[in-house]
Symmetry: C2
Subunit: 198 residues, 2 copies
């Protein structure tokens, strides 16, 4: 690594010469350093030093985690169900956020525990109010895609102070809900990093 730092870009042959080693002896070491990301190899140019520390390389690895690696199954309700039924669904399914869909099964709104709690201390009869009166609706819904970097979605959850986001697929008519990503999923990702599980 010191030789590559000092003389890079440098060919494997020249490195071997400086170390008084054969190219063949050196090859596995160069392969490991390249795989680990400390060195980069370019055809017809040679090896150069990436300048990355072990920690930076690990940060790069975290950035490669995708939403689809950690997402959960979404729980949806129709926009005409009552607030009372939505609360019951939330308890039965044991989730913190429900997604509301229209008659074409496209994303129409989001209901958090906070939204439902706010409605429940109001004076209205919960069985008489449809969820589309109290839900957060498009275009005010933060959505994400299964290929999004997990870490970016984590940052958006924090920034927007929300617990969950629908994972969607864009169609001509609107968004189909294909998943749910929450702070619980982020906590699991954090744990799996420490277990060297990613």
């Amino acid at each position: 690594m010191q030789i590559v730092k000092d003389y890079g870009p440098i060919t494997g042959e020249s490195i071997a010469e400086k170390l008084n080693l054969t190219r063949a002896t050196l090859r596995p070491d160069l392969a490991i350093l390249t795989m680990a990301g400390y060195l980069e190899a370019r055809p017809r140019v040679g090896y150069f030093y990436t300048g990355k520390t072990g920690t930076q390389l690990f940060a790069d690895k975290i950035k490669k985690l995708k939403v689809e690696d950690y997402q959960s199954i979404p729980v949806v309700v129709n926009e005409n169900v009552s607030v009372y039924d939505a609360i019951v669904t939330m308890f039965l399914e044991d989730v913190g956020t429900l997604f509301v869909v229209d008659e074409e099964s496209l994303l129409a709104g989001v209901l958090s525990r906070k939204d439902l709690l706010r409605a429940s201390i109001g004076k209205q009869e919960l069985t008489a109010i449809p969820v589309n009166i109290i839900m957060t609706r498009m275009p005010n819904i933060a959505v994400c895609y299964k290929d999004d970097p997990l870490i970016e979605v984590a940052e958006r959850l924090i920034e927007k102070q929300i617990d969950a986001m629908p994972v969607v697929r864009k169609t001509e008519k609107g968004y189909e809900v294909i998943g749910r990503i929450t702070k619980t999923n982020m906590t699991k990702a954090f744990v799996s990093l420490a277990k060297d599980d990613v």
Copy 2:
């Protein structure tokens, strides 16, 4: 590193000899490899190879994060306040979990949004029920300490399916609540890892 792998434990002097280098030339390299955790140095024994990869070393680093590095300020209510007032406090303070304390300011219970939502769809008058009727109470409360490894608390939040835990100080009479650790804090820790911020 290959020399230490093959011959360790081995003194710096012997390594230098094998490389045809002076001890002085080698010293900074050995210092870096030791600091990074790849090698370990024992007085009067020499260097040996720890067998840890960059990823394992990063996992070790995560395991050193403490609760106190990420905890938030706790929001507490007295055990005699009504469920209605607790809900209002939850909205005013914008938290997902309240801690309930007794007349000596010791931890008596925990109130999640889920607990409050469940109570709010009941038939009772929310201003007439004290929180100690519906709260999760000692000894069923999961608590943690400011020196606990963050990652262990993250695992317990997932295992117990709760959003938050009180950070406590143990006294002769009971637990004083000194902090709050939540899945939001865990999400922030996850983000800070990717930013190489720990």
